[in-house]
Symmetry: C2
Subunit: 357 residues, 2 copies
DNA sequence: TCGCGCTACTAAACCGGTTTAAGCAACGGA
DNA sequence: TCCGTTGCTTAAACCGGTTTAGTAGCGCGA
């Protein structure tokens, strides 16, 4: 008379000779169950190999016990960016301990909003991560309207009701620029990400600021798109200029690596004639030629932390923005002093730039 | 007296003046509902903005309406491999049309089995994808035991009850080797993936076979791990040999790109002294120096197709293995004729080949 | 007139948990 | 002796759908 299928709480109750409700109490460690009875119930549950049905619990508790991640990037860019897999792995680390799952959506950019709507309408998730923040990001309002808890990765420009993971790209960029300035560079270019992405803009502004702090002009910037093709193209533009930069700060490693190849094809030696820095410290960064000086970030840790806050938020606990450790500059061989010895010692506000060649 | 929260099927029933059950029939297009009544119900549902509760449906139907993907790779390798994001994007393309979701698990390799067990025990998913197949993969038996439908990406060595996505890496490798042979190479090495991974082994065997077909010895093989570090290391080993290869076929782009850097640092010109081919056609492949000749695969399409079969399998439809189009060799600048005219000593029962130069 | 079959619909069970209200026994205090 | 607690336990409602069994009304043929 053994029915097939998994045992339910009802089977456990029968086996232990008690009611369904009491089994539920015992299994959830509620008070009001006699020790001897509790023991009997737990033993029965173990003997039957009972495991709670996630579906039943979800319906009863009106919770999904899952969080969502909507990714709206073209797949080829996704594949080249080391951020996502590491971030997701970090998220999982937190989630798996707590019986939560991660529901992923990869959508075309046009369907991004619909993606969040669907996750919310279906009740598939209890909260979401907000990545790739944009300037004046419309998703913030959408999520508030949907009442879907969220954690933003990086702090959005406008204040929101959602906690943010405080990621600050500025010290990393500042360190890269400072390093180049110290080496003697005066003409430091930037290949930026799209300006409507927060991280694209923040890195560009940080580059500008760092140059200003060093008393240098920030006139060698080309906006790009974080892709290899874009990085290559932007590098060509910069190297075609009459007054070439002696160093380029890239907004990510992918563009920087593509930039290395362009320089090489143009016969521009790196780091002899051109210094290059990246951002991310991708797996490949240390294994290109020359190995790339770059800014190391820790997306795995970000994922862990973001998931942690999100779960607390969902549980209704009070939450605050979460700080993250500053990114570190990783020195490798793609940076060196500029070709000609700097005409002047640095820090004279020297107008004598023409003497350099 | 309007209660907060989403409207339920009960609200719709009340609004339309019918019973819950009838609403369910009407909304699911069942016969046995008068046209006029059906219209009234649909109108009411629309007016209330009703959407079915995924949770309730899941409990009632004993289905999760979701499929799972367990990834057991170290995060840094994950980030560098273009396969996963593209594959997942393809999966999503199929799933999103059908109201299905993707549940992702990223686990340490040691917890892989537990990952599947948990997905199955929780009833979070109705089926899973089996990626990164290994020789004698223990997961096959596990999934059969768990009764969790699965689709394997590539055909496992032992026959299973699960359908497979027929991915054949051999023509791609064969094309790469043939291309090199045609250029005049006689000493063609291979940097392989781990031999316990099916795709690692298959590519190696394909390389061996292609060399045999060309009457060349397959004695320049170094096993590696698909990582940049591993690729660099393996390249050093090969280039340190007394009799250097004039060409290296890498089992993936990441190792190939790292190999390019090593060659450069050793002063070995690519493609002048050494030809290099990769596998994947990663975003960066076309933007390194020299641009990489490689084998283009289509993980996005694989994801689409795999999800398609998996859903059919879950629905109990009869399914068969799914063919995929063969991979294409993409010619770029990392391959060229070997440096010196091929020396004719080596064991020549094939005298005519030396005339090629 | 009855019985039969068909259509349109309702009531209730069910999925498998959680939670609330109520019941029952033993016990201490007045 | 009766009452009010306290401790343990059960019955039943509930989450929001799907599905089954059953019923009312109607036309039809015998």
């Amino acid at each position: 008379m053994t029915r097939p299928g998994r045992p339910t709480i009802r089977d456990v109750a029968r086996a232990a000779g008690v009611s369904k409700g009491l089994v539920s109490f015992a299994l959830n460690g509620r008070p009001g169950v006699a020790d001897e009875t509790r023991e009997r119930i737990l033993t029965a549950a173990r003997a039957l190999g009972w495991e709670p049905s996630h579906r039943a619990r979800a319906l009863s508790a009106s919770r999904a016990f899952a969080v969502g991640l909507v990714i709206a990037r073209p797949p080829e860019l996704l594949g080249a960016d080391p951020f996502f897999p590491a971030f997701i792995a970090g998220v999982e680390r937190t989630l798996s301990d707590r019986g939560q799952a991660l529901v992923l959506q990869v959508v075309p950019e046009s369907a991004e909003e619909a993606g969040y709507r669907k996750l919310a309408a279906d009740g598939r998730v209890d909260g979401v991560f907000l990545l790739d923040l944009r300037v004046d990001d419309p998703r913030l309002a959408l999520l508030e309207q949907l009442g879907l808890p969220a954690v933003t990765i990086a702090r959005p420009m406008a204040p929101t009701r959602w906690p943010a993971l405080l990621i600050d790209d500025r010290p990393g960029i500042a360190a890269a620029v400072a390093h180049l300035v110290e080496l003697g560079h005066r003409r430091i270019g930037h290949v930026a990400g799209p300006d409507h992405f927060l991280h694209g803009r923040v890195r560009r502004l940080a580059w500008e600021r760092a140059l200003a702090d060093a008393g240098l002009p920030a006139d060698l910037c080309v906006a790009s798109d974080f892709s290899a093709a874009g990085g290559a193209q932007a590098t060509r533009v910069l190297l075609d200029r009459a007054e070439r930069p002696t160093a380029i700060v890239y907004a990510n490693d992918l563009m920087a690596i593509a930039g290395l190849a362009v320089a090489r094809e143009l016969g521009v030696d790196v780091p002899g004639q051109l210094s290059v820095t990246g951002f991310d410290d991708a797996e490949l960064a240390g294994y290109v030629s020359p190995p790339l000086t770059t800014v190391r970030t820790d997306p795995f840790e970000w994922g862990r932390a973001a998931a942690h806050v999100l779960l607390e938020l969902i549980d209704g606990e009070p939450v605050a923005d979460v700080p993250t450790p500053p990114a570190q500059l990783v020195l490798r061989a793609s940076t060196a002093p500029p070709p000609a010895p700097p005409a002047k010692r640095r820090r004279s506000p020297a107008p004598s730039r023409s003497e350099q060649t």
